[in-house]
Amino acid sequence: MRQIGRYCRLMGVFAKYSLMSALEYRINFITGVTVEMGWMIIKLLYVAIIYKAGTSIGVLTPDHILLFVGTYVFMTGVYMLYYGNFGSLPWMIQQGELDLYIVKPVSLQFLVTLRRLEFAYLLPDFVVGVIMIVTGWRLAGLPSDVLSVAGFLFFLLCGCLLTYSIFLLPYLLGFWIISLGGIADISNALWDFNNMPSLIYEKWMRRIGTYVLPVFVITNFPGLFLMGELNVWACVWGAAAPVLFFLLSRKLWKISLKRYSSASS
């Protein structure tokens, strides 16, 4: 318990310092916001097309889809908050920049992956995502009692942990490969599968995306729970998958780090 408190406090210091650093370069901050808004245009185009067609996807009306895509936009912001740390991991490994973090008596994975937070990306995604979620929720007439809201937020939280755990994995290859540009591209592309609700995909894809590499769980489970479309087993899986994948990321991190300690100079 004391450990958790310590990590929370450290997280607070990181957030504060990141924000202070960001405000040193206001133009970069604005740039970050505009780039993220550029990407958002693409995400919103999908919703625009759905509304233009006016078609439901299975049980999902366009209003439901607005909520699902809103969840995706929101989650993208959360992911982008710490994504920069993943992105600079290969560089840090090559330059031996991990050296000074390895000798700290705090989890190295924590230090390296959550040190810098990028609020410029979070901001537009957060604002637009929340607006889309709330609008979709209202228009679709979904329940807003305490249980529904709490469940939605719970699966949102699970999604955050799952995102971190799954999408760290490809960057661990940075311990072996010099250029990770392609890996980064492919994992980002994978992330974008959530731009549409999983119901649009074939059953076999949905199975893989839910149970093997559970990227669909991240942005679909909060909405599906709200609609009463999740049975008990799905709920259990939605809560278990983040834990399992987090443990996996810890394990693989440790294995990869061994490589750093034995191969680098």
Partner: protein, 328 residues
Amino acid sequence: MGIIEVEHLKKEFSYYKKATGIKGSLHNLFRRETLTKEAVRDISFSVEKGEMIGFLGPNGAGKTTTLKMLSGILYPTGGRAEVDGFVPWERKNEFKRRISIVMGQKNQLWWDLPASDSFYLNKCIFGVDDGTYRDVVTELSELLDVRDLMSVQVRRLSLGERMKMEILAALIHQPDILFLDEPTIGLDILSQKKIREFLKLYNQQKKTTVIITSHYMADIEALCQRAVIINQGQLVYDGRLGDINRVLGERRLLSVKTSSEVNPAQWEGFGTLRETSAAGAVLEVPQEKVKAILGAILAGLPVEDFTVTEIPIEESIARFYQKEVVAP
């Protein structure tokens, strides 16, 4: 039993061979050649608590690699080491709290924030309590003469000031052992001197064990009673820097000034001729023969003046670097 015990430490790296040109790139696309480099071959030594020792050696000799193994950053390929009762590469948190490392080429400070923020972060990371933290920062900033710079963003500091801050940041948790890797690299003479003075004082006051690597002999000469010379991954000398000449066999440089030009061939018989000119010559001779040789020269040549000096330490070290000699 010393605070640091190292036995037969070894470290090998493998790396890829990169062919040049477009053909090479295409070739690399499919197959790469792996090569192995022995960075540290077989190193053993021990350090007593409170000692300050220096690792000397040319670039790529294996100094930094050794230091990284002792601080737990790298796993060795063979051999063992014990630092403050721990095996470094097991990386226990308790071990990490007792050591600290400063690397001249890397920085742990947040670039865009004042150094004091990075100190505070280290306080949180190492779990130092508020009172101790305040005392340590006050005392060290006084000693390092950086009190006025505490609220300046790191990126605005000069290289020397930044290094002082790096050292301060590394000492927030009052480690038992401090590793310094090229702490004075790229600094101006004055900053180098300041940092040396601080390290000496700190070592004396706190009895902190210090291991410092450098390829500036001046660093080691000023700070360390004991030097370890490493070359091509091997320990070639371990002892007092001032004793190097004794180890190499006591030889002296004999500079002789003559009133008229002497044929170079005439010098040859007296010792190893280092240089010669119209005005005289420099000879290298064994210490025990200085008297006899000098007598012969004085008798045979038009000597105006002469001096006898020790061989400069740099030169002796250079002979270790070139592997002309290996310590017994």
